[in-house]
Subunit: 200 residues, 2 copies
DNA sequence: GTCTATAGGCAGATAGAC
DNA sequence: GTCTATCTGCCTATAGAC
């Protein structure tokens, strides 16, 4: 029982999000959304007057949803290593749907985007690194995990590697580059003693 | 003394390459090239009849130039670690010019590209991984370097991480994510004994 | 090889009726 | 909120003269 149908504004975001994640910001149009949602182009401008408005709404919602997923990871996972693994799984689930991280996609288009969007995208990456830095730092301090370098630089490395792995995996239509990246990243996070997992 | 001016076809590729690396395939037009080269739009179609033709020529030349740079690295560098460091520097020099790796950029646009371009882009990544796999494998066999996992998976991890690091660094207008990635990657390549470099 | 001229289509966006 | 109708501008691409 799906309940009452979603408001048009939300359905527009759903479609636009999928289009950005698969085609990029400069390769989708109001006409594409119009077709998919079943509403005329002009009606879309009622909800999002300009494409820049739509783009900003897209990033805001994606950012908020991602942060929500991170909170849920902290609620449901206890160990730092398990939290990191779930973090990589967040990216993996996007890739398995044939999509790229929306902000990774927009990062490629960054030179063509309005300033508010650029700032929002930078904020997404900053918040991801902040969360990872905290998880890594707490884990190291408590002795549950260990790794080389600072929590901040390892956090940055996680984000960069996962984004790049999605990009390369999608380009070749093969998930192996992504799987290899996850294995290597998790192998960098050493558990206290014996129970080190499989090798990369 | 610059000698005779470059043929138009080459100058078109130079401009188009810069445009793809900064804006992406779907955010540049023949009009942009026309302005920069100083030749009318219609003349461009004489050299590259369709945008797909231009795109394919772009990838072919970039691929060949990159392979040339890899050969030069092997000629001028002796140790495997030094070769890997130079490989990362290839990406760094692109980023410092405010650009993204052209094939990384096109990887984002992959769903909108004609099939021949998609195949060429995949070939670029395959050849990069092949080269890295060889350097890593020979280095490990000779005992000059050591690392976890197979040469092929580490090669894939290098490519993914460097591509992603460029993407994230460019999005934030800050080279730190890229520098962190290079430090972490090189730290994974352990030299034989004492002279391990700076920590990441 | 380069030009002028132009085709045919799609982009983002607006006005105003219902 | 959704519609029809329309605008303006840019897109890729072609025809044919020089």
């Amino acid at each position: 029982m799906p309940g009452p149908r979603k408001p048009t504004a939300d359905r527009v975001l759903d479609i636009a999000e999928a289009l950005v994640q698969t085609r990029g910001y400069n390769a989708f149009s109001y006409a594409d959304i119009s077709r998919a949602v079943g509403v005329r182009k002009a009606s879309l401008h009622h909800h999002y007057p300009t494409k820049a408005d739509l783009g900003l709404a897209l990033v805001s919602r994606y950012h908020a949803a991602f942060m929500g997923a991170l909170s849920e990871i902290e609620t449901k996972s206890d160990s730092p290593a398990r939290r990191l693994e779930r973090y990589t799984e967040l990216y993996g689930s996007v890739l398995r749907r044939g999509r790229m991280c929306m902000c990774g996609m927009l990062a490629a288009d960054v030179a063509t985007l309005p300033k508010p969007m650029r700032e929002s995208i930078a904020g997404f990456f900053t918040d991801n690194e902040r969360w990872l830095t905290r998880v890594l730092g707490e884990g190291k301090k408590s002795g549950q995990i260990d790794f080389e370098g600072t929590p901040a630089s390892m956090a940055s490395f996680f984000v960069s590697s996962l984004e790049g792995a999605m990009l390369v995996a999608r380009a070749g239509g093969n998930s192996e580059p992504f799987d290899a990246a996850v294995r290597h990243l998790m192998a960098r996070i050493k558990l206290p003693a014996s129970r080190s997992k499989r090798k990369p």
